[in-house]
Symmetry: C2
Subunit: 207 residues, 2 copies
DNA sequence: TAACTTACAAACATTGACATCTGTCACTCT
DNA sequence: AGAGTGACAGATGTCAATGTTTGTAAGTTA
C-alpha cells in the first residue's frame, strides 16, 4: 500500500508529463490537428486517463496557456516592483512585453494559435493576467508621481490610456498584421519613441 | 438612334441603380447571403447585365466601399485643411473619425462586414484612403509646428505614432471587441484624454 | 450600337453519409 | 483507494455528390 502523499506526487507528475506531451504535440501538429488521443498516445496511455487529470480538452489547453502567461507575467512583475526611475521601468516593462509577444507570435505561431484560441474560449484564464498587467502599470505610474517625475490625477485611467496607446506594438492582432513588414529592431525603436511621447505627456501633467 | 451621350448617361444611371440595389440587398440579407443574382432580381434584370456594368462581384463591392470611404474621408479632409489651432483640429479630426467608425461598425454591422471583407480582399481601394489619413495628420502636425504649438522633428513618423496611439478607439477590431462595454460618450471622453496626453508630449517636443 | 437576355461552363457552397473525436462509466491493477 | 483501461454514446469533422453562384459568349431588342 502506497501512502496518499506519494500517490498525490505521482498524479502531479503525470499532470506535468501530459502538459509537456501536449505542448510537443501542439508544436508538431498544430492546434487544429491536435487531439486528446494524440497526446495520450505520445505517453503510451489511454486518452481516458488524460481525462482523469484534466476535466476537458479545454481545461488542458487552459493549463498550458496559464504556464505561458506566467512566463511573461513574472519578469514584468519584477520590473514593476523594483526600484529606480519610473520612466525607465515603464520603458523596460513595455519593451519586455513587446519582445516576448513578438517572439511568441511570430516565432511559435502554432503554440500561439493555441494561446489565442484559449483566449477567445476561456476568457477568465487570461483576464486575471490582464488585470495584473494593469496593476503593474498603476504601480509604476504611482511611483512616478511619488518621486516627482510625473503628475497624474487618476492612475487607473492613466494606466488604461498608456496601455491603449502602446497596444499596436504587442497586441497579437496588430503584430500578426504587421508580420514581416518591419524588423524587430524597427518596431522596438518606434515603440520607444511612442512611449517617450506618452511619458513627456505624463511629465507635463496632461492626465 | 440615340446619341452616344444619352447612352453614356443611361449607363451611369444603371450603375448607380445597381449600387443602390446592392446596398439595400446587403442590408437585408447580409454579406454571406447576397448574390449577384439577388441584386439583379431586385432591379428586374438578368445578372449578366450587372456584369456589363461591373467587372466582377468584387468590383461591385469595391465600388460600394469606395462610396463609404469617401463619406468619411471628405469631412476629415475638410478638418485637416482648414485654419485654426492644430491641437483643436487634431482633436476634432480624431473624434470625427471615431464617431463615424463606431456608428458604422456598431450601428450597421451587415454593411460594415461588407466593408471589412472588401478591405481584406481589395487592399488597394482602402490603402489609398489610409494614405490620405496619413497626409491629413502630417498636415495638421506641420501646421502645429509652423505656428509654434509643437516641436516635431519628423512629422511622418510622428503621424504614424499618433495614429497608432489612438488606434484602439477607431480600429474595427477593437471597436467590435469593445461592443456594448462602454457608451459612446465614455469612449469619446477617454479618447479625448488620450489625445491630450499625446498633444502634451508633442508640445514638450518629445518627437 | 449600346443595353440587355438567354444559355452554358467552371468555381464554389451545401448536404448527408461516414469517420473520428470528446467525454463517461464500469471495470482492473497495484 | 487511487491510477489507469476498454468500450461506448453523442458531438464534431471529413469527403464526395449535388446544387448554386459566378462569370462568359453568342444572340435579341430598341
Amino acid at each position: 500500500m502506497r501512502s496518499p502523499e506519494k500517490a498525490a506526487v505521482a498524479a502531479e507528475d503525470t499532470r506535468e508529463r501530459i502538459l509537456q506531451a501536449a505542448e510537443a504535440v501542439l508544436r508538431r501538429y498544430g492546434l487544429a490537428k491536435t487531439t486528446v488521443v494524440d497526446v495520450a498516445r505520445a505517453l503510451d496511455m489511454s486518452h481516458a486517463n488524460v481525462y482523469r487529470h484534466f476535466e476537458s480538452k479545454a481545461a488542458l489547453l487552459d493549463a498550458l496557456v496559464e504556464r505561458w502567461l506566467a512566463a511573461i507575467t513574472e519578469p514584468l512583475a519584477a520590473i514593476a516592483e523594483r526600484d529606480g526611475p519610473a520612466a525607465l521601468r515603464l520603458e523596460e516593462w513595455f519593451l519586455t512585453l513587446i519582445d516576448f509577444k513578438r517572439r511568441n507570435i511570430l516565432g511559435e505561431p502554432e503554440l500561439f494559435a493555441t494561446y489565442h484560441a484559449a483566449t477567445e474560449a476561456a476568457r477568465g484564464v487570461v483576464e486575471a493576467h490582464l488585470a495584473r498587467y494593469h496593476d503593474h502599470l498603476v504601480r509604476i505610474l504611482r511611483d512616478g508621481v511619488a518621486n516627482g517625475e510625473w503628475a497624474v490625477s487618476d492612475p487607473d485611467t492613466a494606466a488604461r490610456i498608456v496601455r491603449n496607446a502602446m497596444r499596436v506594438y504587442f497586441d497579437p492582432h496588430h503584430v500578426k498584421a504587421d508580420a514581416g513588414q518591419r524588423s524587430d529592431e524597427e518596431v522596438r525603436e518606434e515603440a520607444r519613441r511612442s512611449l517617450r511621447l506618452v511619458v513627456a505627456g505624463l511629465a507635463a501633467g496632461a492626465l
